[in-house]
């Protein structure tokens, strides 16, 4: 088929295009992903027993995770469609990471020198690095499927953004279980858990997002 003929075929009876409505779909996706992750925590891990007394730290940790997700979201949305500039959206992610590093440093300086290591490492194996990416999968699977429909062209980068965003959502649910409340611990290991989720997203996205 000649190219001119193909153009005729494509244009004939094309009619008006539907306006993409992704805002609502995105909101449903995030709520669904969060609910599934919360369910997984409640059934698989169990909510921390002192949740009533520890309402404040749990809320703070969930808010921190939500903030991390919110910082990555503009980047993901921008990467969803071809040829849109990234600009400050990359800067926002880097600024967030810098603030996190500063917060960890200040929190550790506030501890007695001999207690710093424990405050940072939490005194146990930081399972959140494994559990946050697992809890991110419901959201990331839905998002990969949703965003594939929008002609993304930088697949690994979008996959990473989806992974990081989903990691933030997963960490919100994880906060219900996580027994450690030290600022230095939470900021360090939650961010690392989200980073692992982003790396997985980049690898999976490069394959799954192809169209």
């Amino acid at each position: 088929m000649k190219t001119d003929h193909l153009i005729d075929v494509l244009a004939r009876g094309a009619g008006p295009a539907e306006k993409p409505r992704w805002g609502g779909k995105l909101a449903i996706t995030v709520i669904a992903g969060l609910l599934v992750a919360a369910l997984l925590v409640a059934i698989g891990l169990g909510v921390r027993p002192d949740i009533g007394a520890a309402r404040m730290p749990v809320m703070m940790k969930a808010m921190f995770a939500a903030l991390a997700a919110a910082v990555v979201l503009p980047l993901a949305v921008q990467l969803m469609q071809p040829g849109r500039p990234l600009g400050w959206r990359i800067g926002a992610v880097l600024a967030f990471l810098a603030i996190c590093a500063g917060a960890v440093f200040i929190a550790l300086m506030g501890e007695m020198p001999e207690r710093r290591w424990e405050a940072w490492m939490g005194g146990a194996v930081p399972w959140c690095v494994v559990l946050i990416p697992i809890l991110a999968t419901p959201t990331s699977a839905l998002l990969l499927w949703l965003m594939r429909a929008f002609a993304p062209t930088r697949l690994a980068l979008l996959g990473a953004a989806i992974g990081a965003f989903s990691g933030g959502v997963g960490a919100m649910a994880y906060a219900m279980y996580c027994p450690t409340d030290s600022v230095a611990f939470v900021v360090t290991w939650y961010v690392l858990g989200i980073a692992v989720s982003a790396a997985l997203g980049a690898v999976v996205g490069a394959r799954v997002l192809r169209w």
Binding site: T3, I7, L10, A11, G15, G83, P85, A151, T153
Partner: protein
């Protein structure tokens, strides 16, 4: 870029339902894409033309992914570059024939359409029956969507959805098929 405003106007008119404007957009885009791909695939004009066709189908089926707040050419070339990278990745996985008859300095400055290597008509025949039929009636036999609906017994929106899905499948087939 000089073409930006003009091309953008055509695409937006097309998005609003003006088929003639959409046709003009695709025609002008084809010229730009041909130059783009031939510059990057020197000595393989058929491959370049395959990519022009593939990208045109991509631009058409994904035209709703264009956001008018951003430059149109950035959108178009992002898709073109994506198709090119996909093509090169596919090419890596197949045995390449020696490039006989490669002549440098023979580029046609007019960038006239050469024949594409692959036959889109043959690919259309590989679509699922419902999609193939909808495309055949409306796109090739030049019937209206309503006539196609009456002839097949499907609803009009069914026909439209089948065409859209069929063209998306077509683009996937264009990407999968291994030219020999």
């Amino acid at each position: 870029m000089a073409d930006e405003a003009h091309l953008k106007g055509l695409l937006l008119q097309g998005l609003a339902g003006d088929d003639a404007a959409h046709r003009a957009f695709l025609t002008e885009a084809a010229g730009l894409l041909r130059a783009f791909f031939r510059n990057r695939l020197r000595g393989a004009p058929e491959d370049a033309e395959d990519l022009v066709q593939e990208t045109l189908v991509a631009l058409h089926t994904r035209r709703d992914s264009y956001d008018p707040n951003y430059p149109l050419t950035a959108w178009m070339y992002a898709i073109a570059r994506y198709r090119l990278i996909d093509f090169l990745r596919r090419a890596k996985h197949r045995v390449t024939a020696p490039i006989d008859g490669l002549e440098i300095g023979d580029a046609d400055p007019e960038y006239e359409a050469s024949d594409a290597r692959r036959d889109v008509t043959a690919l259309l025949n590989r679509l699922p029956e419902k999609q193939r039929r909808a495309i055949q009636l409306v796109k090739l036999d030049e019937k209206s969507v309503r006539e196609a609906a009456e002839e097949t017994g499907f609803t009009e929106s069914d026909i439209k959805i089948s065409i859209h899905r069929g063209l998306k499948t077509l683009m996937r087939l264009m990407g999968q098929e291994q030219p020999t």
